[in-house]
Symmetry: C2
Subunit: 443 residues, 2 copies
């Protein structure tokens, strides 16, 4: 163990069983996510502008925020081709490999249509339809994210969505990130627009001359994108959204046998996402916590994004718990986006997990595998939303429609039940709609 | 055919092919649903009051809006027993019968857990968990709705939600509707509170001394309830909601062979829900439209809720189309909550349905069957939300969690792919979390 004092990092190191109820609540509080009133107002202004002026407003925003002048917002065939041919073979292969594995996991989980005779002559069914117009947002702020293009594009393609558009911020030279383009086309997405930020969300929600209007929007983004999604989701002329996105977060439960170097690397790979990312370490072993904190210090120095990670770690916590069972209770209360069980018997603890976006079992499942290529989706509920919502799947790109087909025998069988209930509810026209048919089948 | 002039009802009778684009858009516009600024402000005030003062605020609202003084908001065992024993046997049987059929359809559609080896040594899974704290709202304004208690209570029970609470408005005498209580207990829901309106939504979203705080809220309601759900869904300390609820609506596509009396009864059973309900009739046959309009006039006179239905019909439309195919196109654009295909070959048209909440095939499937007892759920997307969302199912009460379990062989198999992608995205800590493990398995 090194002698680097943990204080260096300004971790909040806590003993859960020494905290009172209020302190415990405080310990699990996410970094304040209050949307600045100025952010909300700025986003509302952008939305109004795009709603009113369409492409002209999008171009003006691109000039203002990205500092470039774009005549053509859409990526054309030549740019796609150039992106593809310019990309290293190893990266193309990695994108193909990840896409195939994501597809295999997502296909296996697709909702099935089904049909059931609920009474003689009454057939009830569920049929599935793709959402017709979907919009994908792929950020490229601090880093372009071809992996996000796969995580959204693969399930959209599997659902069979006929109209898929993708927006991603332009680079300084006015081009789109080539890896994002390659990943998009890999999923059959060829309508890509070089638009970022709130203006991208507005363009897809309201439609512009060049960007078609979308029914539902997907994808992560910065505070402006998140606020724009929130605003279009409640606007009468807006669009549905996949989920309210917040800063990324991981909770690691580690026992005495965990590998401190691995755990530290996992914490850092979350912390480097952004200054508002949150990282929690829960352990029943003081020595392990010491070792992880020391390892974090060691590994931090080698990171290009050390500054960001250091900021994120400042609002993070290392919590000493009495037992692994207690750690699971705390995790269920926090409902983390990512939960790593760095435990000797990780599988045995899985039944205790009640709320999390995605779970990583054991020492050999770093969260980064789920981010890229284990096959699961990396668009996951944050900020505790795992208590009531789930990550993106093919179902996120579909609607389920129920169907009932009834013959005269069927209405005779279940009509009287409906008549009784309609009468109890005082809905006489409901009663009549059934009674008229009952008279017709058995006059 | 009777000679009653259709004008009597102030239907909007239109010929789709005589309309220009703007008129077509106008024809499919829902009755304006602009939330009055006063409604939003009144609801916000109620939410603040309940958030701050808990049960005292709920009691004050109950005094103010329901005109009664309630010491105990919770329904006790005695009230449950009295409700059960006071209910006619025929109604108890109908509730039991409906519950059983709803359960059988919902069970068949439950999402399954699954597991897949996506690479040698990489096992990916989806596991399911019930949402732990759910709140159900069962309206009882113009009519108590025991059927809604079943439509929410049955899937909540199938999902295995450990904590289910139900709010329903008190009656004038301070009791809850006995049929709602019977239906609730039939689904294992025993925590029932006599609270209505925005104060019920606030109590379940924020929690009070007597009402536990809920993660997700379900159920229809009036404009105040809907606005309250909208507000808690975007509040940081609020709760998730099933869907944005709007006024109920039906679209009927009828051909020349349809039974005008049945079609009229179906239109009326939608119209009686409320003055803001919307009803659309599409047909390629003028004589059928004439006959339906005349039948509506005839049947209206016999209805206790004729006044409400008449108001709803005033904003409804009878649209002449050139063909059934055109009617389907229009329906997909409108995305109705309920779609009735009163067609000779209804089943053959089903593949053309792209967006609807629930579909009723043929002459013997009145929408009222789906409302009560065919087995499908009657909590469905309104206001065009069927373009991107689905009705309530067991999945609405669950979360899906993905899991990955990886052994050394697994990280060796897929780690290099993650390393390549992390490098491309400039996320060095992600790369390191994988690379460290790759080194450990193959030094």
């Amino acid at each position: 163990m090194t002698c680097t004092p943990p204080e260096l990092l300004n971790w909040n190191r806590l003993d859960w069983n020494a905290l009172d109820a209020a302190q415990r609540e405080q310990a699990l509080r996410r970094p304040a996510q209050v949307t600045q009133a100025t952010t909300a107002a700025a986003v509302a202004a952008i939305l109004d502008e795009v709603r009113r002026d369409g492409d002209a407003a999008v171009r003006a925003c691109t000039r203002r925020f990205d500092g470039i002048e774009l005549d053509d917002l859409a990526v054309d065939v030549d740019e796609f081709s150039a992106a593809e041919s310019g990309l290293p073979r190893s990266l193309r292969d990695a994108i193909d490999e990840a896409a195939a594995r994501i597809a295999s996991f997502h296909i296996a989980g697709m909702t099935a249509a089904y049909s059931l005779e609920t009474a003689p002559g009454v057939s009830c069914e569920r049929i599935l339809r793709p959402i017709r117009n979907v919009g994908l947002y792929v950020p490229a702020g601090s880093a372009p994210l071809p992996s996000t293009a796969l995580m959204l594009g693969v399930p959209a393609q599997l659902a069979g969505c006929p109209n898929v558009v993708l927006c991603t911020p332009p680079r300084r030279d006015g081009s789109a990130d080539p890896a994002v383009l390659y990943a998009a086309r890999r999923c059959g997405v060829t309508r890509v627009y070089k638009i970022g930020g709130a203006q991208a969300i507005a363009a897809m929600a309201f439609g512009t001359g060049s960007v078609p209007r979308c029914d539902k929007l997907f994808g992560p983004g910065n505070a402006y994108v998140t606020e724009a999604k929130r605003q279009v989701a409640v606007a009468d002329d807006g669009a549905a959204i996949d989920m309210p996105a917040g800063p990324s977060e991981v909770l690691v439960i580690a026992d005495a046998g965990a590998n401190a170097s691995f755990v530290a690397a996992d914490l850092l790979s979350q912390a480097e996402h952004g200054p508002d990312s949150q990282v929690l370490l829960l352990s029943n072993d003081d020595a392990l916590i010491d070792a992880v904190m020391a390892e974090v210090e060691l590994q931090l120095d080698a990171l290009p994004r050390a500054g960001i990670a250091r900021q994120a770690l400042a609002s993070s916590r290392a919590i000493r718990v009495a037992s692994i069972a207690q750690a699971l209770d705390i995790s269920n209360r926090y409902a983390p986006e990512h939960l790593i069980l760095a435990l000797r018997d990780a599988r045995a603890w899985l039944p205790q997990v009640q709320a999390a976006g995605s779970v990583f079992l054991g020492d050999w499942a770093p969260e980064a595998l789920g981010d890229y290529c284990s096959g699961t989706n990396h668009v996951l509920p944050t900020s505790g939303a795992a208590r009531f919502s789930s990550g993106v799947s093919v179902a996120s790109f579909q609607v389920s429609i129920t169907v009932q087909e009834v013959n005269p025998r069927g209405i005779a069988a279940i009509g009287p039940c409906a008549v009784e209930l309609a009468s109890a509810e005082g809905l006489d026209a409901h009663r009549m709609a059934v009674a008229l048919r009952l008279q017709a089948v058995a006059p």
